[in-house]
């Protein structure tokens, strides 16, 4: 933009012009282009994050103390929020890994109408947590579709109450199914992109040596998918720790999770300090899970290059 004019004016002589104006232009134009985004991220990302820690480490009066964290730990709903969140994370990951991997392998098998299959599998990508929760409410509610179908098939003889506060583990199961339905697409897309980058020669070589489909998946595809898997799993685990609207939609007040507790403290109890403590806890858990995946699925750094 204006960098061009500047570069030309200062170029002293024709021989230097070949190198210098370009160097000049490259010198500051990219930084000017990055600047707005950097400013925005500092204001709306770095600052609030810093404030969250300040809030969490202060009491309501604004003086430094561990009071907010202690109130969080002592809260009657704290333990069930932690265990429910962890249960959802632990159940959702393997189910979604299996489903996403199956979808990706189906796409990679190049069936007829490949783009249509991809579209169908990717449909939930745009569906919100809340909408997904409500979709599955229509299935799991007492006079809903699941009971209708099970009774129609003669598997049950009376309606089962799936969403009772007395059986929180059933609610957790419904949340896990709804979350798997909603958020498998994103993992699938990442895995498909990863599969496409595996050179054909590797799979053909495996075929020449007589590898079965399972052996190809186990020995060639999975190891080569490692970078994609790592990214997909980290992304998913971070989002799973924030699970919120699906739980509210399916569980009501029957179960609670960490982010629902953060909202309760922020909106209903009006104590942003304890809410921030919950936010900090979610962040810590996310970081720990990320570190775990980096350790479990080590890859070379090249993927970031």
């Amino acid at each position: 933009m204006t960098g061009e004019g500047l570069g030309r004016d200062t170029a002293p002589s024709p021989p230097a012009e070949a190198a210098r104006p370009v160097a000049r232009r490259l010198g500051w134009a990219p930084y000017a282009l990055l600047l707005p985004s950097l400013v925005f991220l500092v204001l709306f990302f770095a600052t609030p994050m810093f404030q969250a820690f300040v809030l969490g480490l202060q009491d309501r009066g604004g003086s430094w103390s561990l009071d907010s964290i202690q109130r969080m730990l002592a809260d009657s709903k704290f333990r069930s929020a932690v265990t429910t969140t962890l249960a959802i994370v632990v159940l959702v990951l393997p189910i979604q890994f299996f489903l996403a991997m199956s979808m990706a392998l189906v796409i990679n098998a190049k069936l007829k109408g490949q783009s249509l299959w991809l579209y169908v599998f990717a449909l939930p990508l745009g569906i919100s947590e809340l909408a997904a929760g409500i979709v599955w409410v229509s299935i799991f509610t007492q006079s809903g579709w699941l009971n209708t179908i099970l009774q129609g098939l003669g598997i049950i003889d009376r309606q089962i109450i799936w969403q009772s506060a007395e059986t929180p583990w059933l609610i957790i199961l419904t949340v896990v199914i709804a979350e798997s339905w909603r958020a498998t697409s994103i993992i699938m897309i990442i895995l498909v992109a990863g599969l496409q980058s595996i050179p054909h020669e590797y799979l053909e070589a495996a075929e020449v040596y007589g590898a079965t489909t399972w052996q190809k998946v186990r020995r060639v595809i999975l190891p080569m998918l490692r970078p994609s898997l790592q990214v997909a799993m980290i992304l998913r685990v971070i989002l799973a720790f924030q699970v919120f609207a699906t739980v509210i939609a399916l569980g009501g007040t029957g179960v609670t999770v960490l982010s629902a507790e953060a909202v309760r403290w922020a909106n209903d109890i009006d104590n942003d300090h304890v809410a921030a403590a919950y936010a900090g806890l979610i962040l810590m858990l996310s970081i720990m899970a990320t570190a775990l995946f980096l350790w479990l699925l080590p890859t070379r750094e090249e993927q970031y290059a």
Binding site: M1, G27, A29, P30, Y31, L34, P36, S37, F40, L41, F44, T47, P48, M49, V54, L55, V106, A109, L111, L118, Y119, F121, A122, L123, P124, S128, L130, A131, I134, V135, W136, S138, S143, G144, W145, N147, T148, I189, I190, V192, E204, G210, T212, T213, W214, A232, L235, I238, Q242, F244, A249, S259, N267, D272, A276, L283, S286, I287, T290, Y304
Partner: protein
């Protein structure tokens, strides 16, 4: 699945013959193919059946919402659940608010993000990888940790409970995507043409507007739609940042526990439809948008 398929095949001919080689596969290959189709159908049913069921639930008359067992083919079609939902107090207002928030988010995220994406795609400069990594790593931070302090700050500066306040928060969520997606789009637009335009007398800005922008436009539109979805779908931040002026998802969430079940069905359906339409429009970009973002 196709356990023995490969061993029964004759020895492998020349490399060029690969497409030919595929045809004379044995029965096991056909079986494997059939199993793959079966898996594809099952997975597709898992995705599509719930969408069909909420659709049926939303278009049955609301008087029938509690009849059991339900019928998989609606005996009677009525939009009265949906009109009931849309006419419920505050729903239309929050619907328009959501549209506004999503629109502001889209404009801001692209205005701020696209230049950065362009810089990442076109220039080699010191700190390029650091910036990329930084933008990537923002995704590791939960919304919770941004929304709660922002609510406190907004209260102080008078942005609480406003459309702009929510839109700014959503822009923070969508910006990393906007940067990475636009960068992958500009990478796919050949820079040689831009350089050719510059040698023909365009300045870089003109070269960009006349040459690269038209080529990048479909991809940018897909990126724009995607940022719109990020904003349209957010429940958490909107719930924290609004009180009397909620967005649609925030409105529905707070109404959920006191509302009849047909209200919920209609609400789910109304939120679902735009998402399905959007994915249809950007379907060709799905792999490009997401696949490259993570690399």
């Amino acid at each position: 699945m196709t356990a023995e398929a490969t061993t029964t095949r004759p020895a492998r001919p020349e490399r060029q013959a690969i497409p030919m080689r595929r045809r004379p596969r044995g029965r096991e290959w056909l079986l494997g193919r059939a199993l793959t189709y079966a898996a594809a159908v099952l997975l597709a049913l898992f995705i599509l059946l719930p969408i069909y069921l909420i659709f049926i639930s939303a278009i049955t008359p609301r008087e029938h919402a509690f009849t059991y067992p339900r019928s998989l083919l609606p005996a009677e079609v009525s939009l009265n659940s949906i009109t009931f939902f849309l006419n419920a107090s505050g729903v239309l207002d929050s619907f328009w608010r959501s549209v506004q928030v999503a629109f502001i988010t889209l404009v801001l995220a692209l205005l701020i993000g696209a230049p950065a994406g362009y810089a990442l795609a076109r220039y080699v400069f010191r700190g390029r990888n650091t910036y990329r990594l930084m933008v990537l790593s923002t995704r590791a931070f939960p919304i919770v940790i941004l929304a709660i302090p922002l609510a406190v700050t907004y209260l102080r500066i008078g942005l609480d409970d406003t459309v702009l306040g929510v839109a700014l928060m959503h822009t923070a969520l969508a910006l990393p995507f906007a940067v990475l997606i636009t960068s992958s789009i500009f990478v796919s637009v050949p820079r040689e043409r831009e350089e050719a335009a510059q040698t023909l007398g365009c300045n870089p800005l003109q070269a960009f507007i006349r040459v690269s922008l038209p080529l990048a436009l479909p991809g940018l539109a897909a990126a724009a739609i995607f940022t719109w979805v990020i904003s349209w779908n957010d429940v958490f931040a909107a719930t924290i940042l609004t009180l009397r002026n909620p967005t649609l998802p925030a409105k529905i969430l707070t109404a959920l526990t006191q509302s009849p079940i047909y209200y919920q069905f209609a609400a789910g359906f109304v939120m679902l439809v735009p998402s399905l339409v959007v994915i249809f429009f950007i379907r060709r970009y799905l792999l490009g948008l997401w696949g490259r973002v993570v690399k």
